[in-house]
Subunit: 353 residues, 2 copies
Amino acid sequence: MTLTLELQTVADAVAEIIRDVSLQPAFAPPQLRRAVLAYPLSGGKALRPALLAWSCRALGGLPPPALRAGAAVELYHTYTLVHDDVIDRDALRRGNPSAHELMEEEGRKEFGLNHGAAHYGISMAILAGDCQQSWAIALLATLPELGADPLVTLRLIHQLQRVVGPAIVEGEARDIQLPFLPVADVSDEAILHMMRTKTSALFSYCGWAGGLLAHGREDADVRALTEFGERAGTAFQLQDDVLGLVGSEEKLGKPVGNDLREGKRTLIVALAWTRADEAERTLLSTVLGNPDATSDEIAAATNLLRHLGAIDDIRAMAARYLREALHYLDSLPDNEGVRLLRELAETMVRREK
Amino acid sequence: MTLTLELQTVADAVAEIIRDVSLQPAFAPPQLRRAVLAYPLSGGKALRPALLAWSCRALGGLPPPALRAGAAVELYHTYTLVHDDVIDRDALRRGNPSAHELMEEEGRKEFGLNHGAAHYGISMAILAGDCQQSWAIALLATLPELGADPLVTLRLIHQLQRVVGPAIVEGEARDIQLPFLPVADVSDEAILHMMRTKTSALFSYCGWAGGLLAHGREDADVRALTEFGERAGTAFQLQDDVLGLVGSEEKLGKPVGNDLREGKRTLIVALAWTRADEAERTLLSTVLGNPDATSDEIAAATNLLRHLGAIDDIRAMAARYLREALHYLDSLPDNEGVRLLRELAETMVRREK
């Protein structure tokens, strides 16, 4: 309960920063502005900002720069979501039309587009994501206004743009490419590397950035928070893969089973494949990467994954990553920030959406 | 001749910075790396880096940080080109396949893609542009290594990401939208605003950034360089529109007349429209925004634009912007940097590619 309230406090603070016109670029034309603001104001869980803010708190840092940095990370995350939805052709995000779908619909209404509406939607979504990346960095660059050290601020920007951003993009590129390979040719290491770059890198950054804002240099405490964020991020992604198969569509705000239809390589599929017999592999092959797979076929494949123990084993793997994450917090002082980080990591794995 | 050599010196220095692995993110997978490096290493003219470096020189600043900032601006420019080519569906850039075409072809070869190759190409190009934006900012964040002041460095990053980046995106969004409106409904002001955001903003930034690196604060000299860059940028874009109609395909490295086929609203078309009679407007309408217009139809429309005096008048307009740009240099000391800026602006308007 306390965690829920504390998470809401962070989410509200982030929304306030994002709504603050004095910190916003002058987004125009109005359609683009709508696309840029759609995801950041759609009530995300603010897990990344919370991880950053509480990492800072764990080391005795001040909230204002950490919350603004958290808002920047949230914007950065939404830029990757907007582009990812274009790439994955996902029509829904958090229960609402994805950015390119929103723009496609506007193109029909405002410009009477017909045949060209889909390309217009994609074009505007590309530009909206570009703006979100820019805005995120612009926000970070203002941290000295809130007392952050200019050189620390430059390190935050440099690490995000030199290491983390390219890692996320690498993860997305591998996520695109892996489905083109035969299931048996994709190693667990390749899938884990994809998850770590695509997802864990940004969580890891949040632990590092929060710690750096507090201590001003990369010491053992900051490194512990970095490792904590990395492990918690991997646990989060493993749980995400599980929910993508057995979660509630209503809670997730998107169709279950899309990962299978898109042929996404997850550790669940890889594990099941090693355990499946010929007939079971054939069943998996009929849905994997088949955009026209029916819900009955998806349900049959999901049952098979469950039956082969792959879903339970990946849940257990998520739990192991969670324990590893929590272990890194043991070296830190026992305070409210650390306590919240523990609860946050547990929620990231136990969540249903 | 001196200008050509000096421009080549800047282009070489920029290429060296871009090739410097110690300054590059770890781009992976290899296909993405290829897409990220393709435009930056395709022998661009380095006009923007030169404008930045010589603006710094004009105010007595040191070359190393200005050249690295120039390389960052060039990378930033290529990010917008990669995404713009996806949006405009342009198949060629500087005589080579555009980034998404390059990736589409690789998708066919490496993954045996067929139907999905085009979407794969677009997806990888979106990610490549995202990486280029990140890399550009990462480079800027390293300027203090070369002696730049950390707070000045943060101002450079903030201005680029808060103001200039969103302006470029706005210009691109308007460039997409204007062709959906009737020609008579698009005012000259709307077209000029689109040009200023899409093109002039980054040239203006180069003048400002070079000046700021030299003087450390925004004084009258820095403001003069900012205005110089803005006017020179507009002159450049006007000339670009002219070359898009009457330039040499071989020199440009892309088909002439594509702007007409894409229905781009240029001041040339707007001016011709006000002077055209009904029959001439009908001729223009048959090619404007018609991707299937034949080269004969494009040639007829181009002759009409010439006959109506629109091409000559826009050339004259470019010359006026050039004079305005040069006027802003009059208040600066008469030195080598200023002399090079004068020649650069003249070349930007007199160029044939």
